[in-house]
Symmetry: none
Subunit: 124 residues, 4 copies
DNA sequence: GTGGTCTAGACCACC
DNA sequence: GTGGTCTAGACCACA
């Protein structure tokens, strides 16, 4: 996996994990990859993955069983969805709208771009 | 002024300055506030404003006359507009669209929120 | 059985066994449940129960007859009582008292809570 | 400072910091020692103090101003008191009471020991 | 100067 | 095998 350098790696991994939960790739109550496993797959230091998992544990998305590993929490999908939705609505949207007003970009234009984006992402 | 936690303060101030230029509050070839003046108004360390001005100078939005202060560049409005538009289209939009797909948020919903936002910002 | 997160599971099981001895549910010189039996009842890994039994054997509360299983030691009740009393007086009390001072909790309040606790535990 | 080895060092330091807040030694909105400062005083690695401060930040007891350091939160005393009180009442007391019942220790005895403890701690 | 992140490597308790 | 903690040391952004 490649990482952007304007966001902490452990947060980018956290996003990745969150999406796996959100999309149902990793189901509730299932074990997720061990720290060492994910670290070697992501080519990062295990400590970085530990940071990711601690962060997600604080959010209540995953939990740990000692000696066994980390597991997806019950109700994690809803928690992740709520968390992402809240931060999108409260943090992202206002800045976007402000830019749209300043730059004279209309919702119609946004919708047009969105349709293009959707087609491209379906191809993948 | 209040600052968000997830973006560098000097960049938030840079945004503020850019908007003043974009909206014509600070006109081209006009002198902008001195570092110390702006720093005390914003309640930040003067070094932080220096960083802001250096950043804006690198972008070509402002320039410095030694001993006199900083001034809005000729053609700054267009430069600011182009810069903002580019970063909006290339950096912001993809993330937004990705979130919309993941969370099932429709362009209609976005447009609805945008109308609300517009009304609120007109009041100010 | 449910386990707390802040104490090793094998120690929580050891406590449980100790209480059975203390209360006379498991009498001296009697055979106690096999590792596998207890493990399946407690829903833990057999290795964990082995650790528990090793710990209790080191304390002299139980002993093993090869091929037959584990048995409650002679004089185990007194040993358990002494062990628990010592660790209570030396390890638990000082921390409790420190918290009481810091938080302004009085012995009267403790006694009050204790009465409530006694009533609830009689019901079981 | 000397550390017990049955509790993580970063949590022992967190307790220490919490008590400083609780006792008013470090007042609300005041700056607390920098990571490096406290680390060298405590003779631990700076990373360990960072863990402490992150933990306390998650609890809402302290917050960070970028480039300036960590500060005691508004209302921190009440938060600390509530946190300590809750964990005392819910985690510590039940175990204590259970032991008292099992060992036949009476509240009167506890109170007696508490008086002794109070005298000793006043001398310090 | 401040905190934030990351790596490398070690040791431990636990299951 | 699992996670949890700690050390050592590095580099960076920020004020």
């Amino acid at each position: 996996m490649e990482f952007k350098d304007n966001e902490a790696i452990y947060l980018q991994i956290a996003n990745n994990v969150s999406e796996n939960i959100l999309l149902g790739s990793w189901e509730e109550e299932d074990k997720i990859p061990s720290v060492r496993d994910l670290a070697s797959r992501m080519q990062v230091n295990p400590n970085t993955v530990i940071r990711t998992y601690e962060f997600l544990e604080n959010q209540g998305f995953i939990y740990t069983k000692r000696g066994l590993g980390f597991f997806v929490s019950e109700g994690a999908i809803d928690k992740v969805k709520k968390y992402k939705r809240d931060s999108f609505m409260q943090s992202d949207l206002p800045g976007i709208f402000r830019n749209m007003l300043l730059l004279g970009i209309t919702p119609v234009e946004i919708e047009h771009q969105f349709e293009i984006f959707k087609k491209n992402s379906q191809l993948k």
